[in-house]
Symmetry: C2
Subunit: 277 residues, 2 copies
């Protein structure tokens, strides 16, 4: 008998977004665009009196993951491993929730489709207040554009065709739940404007430009982030701020060229997937 199942879920950086609320958590979400990263989260699910969740070996409490296990009606241990910083805009909570859904479905033979599993993880993440657009983007891979918010049944997605290296540095956390749980009106106009720029010209450079515009207009830039983006720009590169974290990401060698010592990965083309035994 199979004793564990594993899934890999890419990290995801959002460049800009708008918040779209609905009574139904699976229809709640965000429009916007981002980048799926080859640095992600490996999730292993095994039989256990549960829920018991560890992140990089330490016991953690993750409401979205507990909700996924509850929806699938399984008792399990979830072990997540990642090199991504937590709370810094890489969608780690969404990744653990989605990886848990994929792996638990496999291990417990729940026979659900990919759209159903994404919907469960997205709804759990929304209800936990820890994210709005990461799960659907992580499921898709690439550079996803969220044209209409929500799970696959209501959401509409497209993508920017792109490959290549991504660099990032992190200066600390920002509370996602504080920002998306509070008054999000000031994000609306810049978020819509940024999205329409990217829809008009879906290229990586335009995405970076729209993301910088959004962070500036929405008043989310911190001093460290602002200085770093400027340094990259002065070195001839393209950088922007990850929503929501004190994180700067750059295309290609943008941060290295500006003298930083960034983490290095690439655009992940595949999206969330089961891993072979």
């Amino acid at each position: 008998m199979q004793e564990t199942a594993r899934a890999f879920v890419p990290g995801h950086i959002t460049g800009f977004f708008t918040v779209e609320r609905d009574e139904d958590p699976t229809k709640t979400g965000s429009t916007g665009a981002g980048i799926s990263l080859t640095n992600g989260v490996s999730v292993e699910v095994s039989y256990a009196e549960g829920p018991k969740i560890t992140l990089n070996g330490e016991d953690v409490s993750m409401e979205a993951v507990e909700r996924v296990l509850g929806t699938l009606a399984v008792s399990a241990a979830v072990e997540a491993e990642t090199s991504l910083p937590v709370g810094a805009g890489f969608g780690v909570s969404g990744a653990v929730a989605l990886g848990t859904a994929l792996a638990a479905n496999e291990l417990f033979g729940r026979s659900l489709s990919e759209n159903e599993l994404v919907t469960i993880a997205h709804g759990a993440e929304v209800q936990a207040g820890t994210g709005l657009g990461d799960v659907v983007s992580q499921a898709r891979g690439g550079m996803p554009i969220r044209l209409e918010a929500g799970s696959p049944h209501s959401g509409v997605m497209d993508g920017i065709p792109a490959r290549g290296r991504i660099e990032y540095v992190t200066f600390g956390e920002l509370s996602t739940s504080e920002i998306i749980g509070g008054n999000t009106e000031r994000l609306e106009q810049p978020g819509e404007e940024a999205l329409s720029e990217v829809v008009r010209s879906p290229t990586p450079d335009q995405f970076m430009y729209a993301s910088r515009y959004f962070a500036r207009e929405a008043g989310l830039l911190t001093e460290d982030v602002m200085r770093t983006i400027q340094d990259v720009s002065e070195a001839g590169g393209e950088a922007a701020m990850a929503m929501l974290g004190q994180t700067v990401f750059a295309l290609g060698t943008g941060l290295s060229d500006a003298g930083y010592d960034p983490a290095v990965c690439a655009i992940d083309p595949a999206g969330a997937r089961l891993e072979s035994e």
Copy 2:
């Protein structure tokens, strides 16, 4: 200046389908389900007085590819390389069309989105009469279910969560255009029945069962194919027929276990993608 751009597109085996026609070729297509394969087609596009298309080094004429180049208004050479058999149900024509769309968009800076490029390649394939569902499936990757036919703007897709090894053997060609261009009514009832079985229980085993049911009920089995599927079944494995080719594919080591000498690959989780320079 960039002188070439490259894309990789997975092969795609359809297990069962129904034909859905519309006056608009981008809304024409097929419902059904299939498997994207790590064995696929590498496509390189370069500047040239064109169109000039080669497949594994030989000059070929491919209407779908010429239509893609025409829609993008580019003059280019397309070099495609693949280990997949041509005309045997692996979606090679769709793969070259989609790879050409992705790579030409990159090389010529056309700034189109992924959905737009998939729509162009899908429409070209439909107009050429060489395929109905391969392009959208190859764009998605994994084990795609086509719930509603057509390009991303009208089609609806889901997926069977699965990873692992796929084996195949080929006994020869079947003419896609003859079968999908002719009377497709006899495919309708078995195609719809197979789809509803897989939607009810989206697992790899159920997909193989539904595919065998479809091939049998639609009267498409040839003697070689029938015997091979039976051999795999007697050895305890799961095999079915690729639509449309005299090809048998199996999950895991199904064909090897039955004493065949199959080609071996795996489910491709990523779908069509640009390759880095």
